[in-house]
Symmetry: C2
């Protein structure tokens, strides 16, 4: 243990202490209730869809005010109650023992069979949990109950997000210059709240969905020439990438532009960055970037927009060569998106309508197929300059 | 273009020049043949399975000596011939125009319809290619024809591999200290042959399949305490990660240990690192690390090995809680592996036989479930110390 502690960064030691204290405080009341003979119960905010609200002022999904009680002395709830206590214990022990569990770890750490004797004296056996979705659900309850994200409890996860740009950060005990990554990039850590922003020389953040396009823009010197922080989520963004982008926007006041394929999957990626994930709305308050702008590739980039006198970025023959026919699942997803309040804006209605009419989609690589410098020196700067994005 | 050139690193400018020259030389003979009225044809090494040989001395899969002719004046071959010339032109132009295409780009750049008039005067239309697998296949032909990997032709791709450790490298025009990455990591570039190794202070390379486990080992200071270079492939390894690992082994003489889940998928990941991919054997000569060792998690770690007097790392109750029942696809894959020459060793036969008998698999996270410091301070160092790995 001591060995471990010495190898940990001072940042982690502090975060660990804070989280352990918060958990201790939150669960101490349960122990106190038991000691004075009261019924032990937890009052937890509801994570149901019915208690998920789109807050149009903040522009994000948040949890409503509904809560529920989880009581030990209730046959229906006692299993869940015990699971919650078990998970809290595992997390607390990991914190004070200087460990860094993953959610998969937490599942294994808690998984065992409990033998018991019932009121008629018969022996029985029951597993604490059988599948990870059970332990994950309990972990989420704890996140909302103690009001700490899992990352703040030093629970780690895989992490795909990368960044380069003219910026210095402190992570752990190191200072890292994100402009000195050569042809590689800096992989964002799984606990981005522990990053300290030292100084930045950039005018905006460009998030590209595809890692391969990120590699191209990086290599072509895009971020240097246009003073951008360049980020990729490498597909569907993970929590750390979303939190990192949010912090850049909120704390450094940098505008955030998101560049995805022109298809409903790309729109969904944008939506996760901007609004949050529908089923995990309690994260959004911390992870969503409500001011993020959809830079493209948009349907009007492909087909033009007569109303605004906007010309297409593609010629007729390029369109013929580059466009991909939409699949049924694309159409279905686009129809679903139309139901969401945050897609009911003028810009998105136009976007989705063109998609429905043309049943066509386009990959970013079709633009680099026109020439990489078309993307870096024409398309992206022109779009930003003309404010041709969807807010 | 000048703009682009100024933003490119000097390393890229040099690599670009070399590749463009090689392509020009390789294809100049075709032009010369046409000019003197000879039949233009390409002689290309065969990439078929029949021409893929396991070289037991080198310990890798390589291409045999068989070649084939691709001729323009042959109705069956002319389409492929033209595709090859088109792809060569696109790559050459990208090189001299300072671009960084991806394989998806190359597909779009070449995709168009050719209108023609046949010998009876009828007009027709034919696409250069319809799907990326066509353009990819032609790209591979060019790689073996000019004997350059795509990376050497500055063709980029997405890249998942990460590294941390006490090592300095030069990438592009920057010097990067891989021991100063804080809680993040260094994302390996898509062109790892352009990396220069400056100095290293490490005794071995540990490659972990899972990014989340990499995060844990990194955070717990494993690489610092045990003088390791810590790498993750984040699942199935990509070309750049494989090439980077190979270079560490070959040029720095560092032993390479690979840590995966205990299942046929993990074994396959190991096999790709060590031997290469069966369908793309021409890459192996550059990308495979024949000396890589399978550190675990092995079946004998789980069940022990009476023959060797080896005890299991798990207790009976841990086994009960942690083991996952193998699926039919796991069994099928294990049976396939038994057919490969490089799995026909004493160690692998035992490994696969135990798996077949127990029909059980285990994730690395089951070991971190026993405690992170069990993995870092007991399991990994003990296995290396006792040379308890499969070569």
């Amino acid at each position: 243990m001591d060995e471990g502690k010495r190898l940990s960064s001072s940042v982690d030691v502090k975060a660990r202490h804070l989280a352990a204290e918060r958990i201790r405080e939150s669960f101490e009341k349960i122990c106190k209730a038991i000691l004075v003979g009261e019924e032990p119960k937890l009052i937890i905010p509801k994570r149901t869809l019915a208690n998920t609200v789109y807050n149009s002022e903040k522009g994000i999904l948040i949890l409503g005010s509904a809560t529920f009680e989880r009581s030990f002395i209730d046959a229906k709830e006692s299993r869940k109650f015990m699971q919650t206590m078990l998970m809290a214990r595992i997390i607390y022990e990991a914190l004070i023992n200087n460990e860094y569990p993953t959610i998969r770890d937490l599942f294994y750490r808690g998984k065992h069979s409990i033998r018991y004797r019932d009121h008629k004296g018969r022996t029985g056996e029951e597993n604490t949990w059988d599948e990870q979705k059970e332990s994950d659900s309990v972990l989420r309850d704890i996140e909302v109950y103690v009001n700490l994200l899992r990352e703040e409890m030093l629970i780690l996860s895989k992490e795909k997000g990368k960044v380069v740009g003219d910026m210095r950060i402190r992570s752990g005990d190191d200072i890292i210059d994100l402009s000195k990554m050569g042809h590689g990039a800096y992989s964002i850590e799984p606990t981005p709240d522990l990053i300290e922003f030292i100084d930045v020389n950039a005018e905006f953040v460009l998030v590209v969905e595809k890692d391969a396009v990120f590699q191209q823009l990086h290599r072509a010197g895009f971020w240097r020439k246009y003073r951008a922080l360049l980020i990729t989520s490498a597909g569907q963004p993970d929590r750390a990438t979303r939190r990192f982008v949010r912090r850049l926007n909120e704390e450094l006041n940098l505008p955030v532009y998101i560049l995805t394929d022109a298809d409903p999957y790309g729109w969904y990626i944008y939506s996760v960055f901007k609004i949050g994930s529908i089923t995990l709305s309690y994260e959004s308050e911390r992870l969503a970037t409500p001011k993020a702008k959809f830079l493209g590739v948009s349907m009007t980039d492909i087909f033009g927009d007569k109303e605004r006198g906007k010309k297409s970025y593609l010629s007729e023959s390029e369109r013929r060569n580059f466009i991909i026919k939409a699949k049924k699942t694309d159409i279905k997803r686009a129809q679903e998106l139309l139901n969401y309040e945050w897609f009911k804006t003028e810009g998105w209605r136009k976007e989705i309508n063109i998609f429905m009419e043309k049943q066509s989609k386009l990959e970013i690589e079709a633009l680099t197929g026109k020439g990489l410098y078309f993307l870096t020196d024409t398309y992206i700067p022109m779009k930003i300059e003309a404010k041709d994005f969807i807010e």
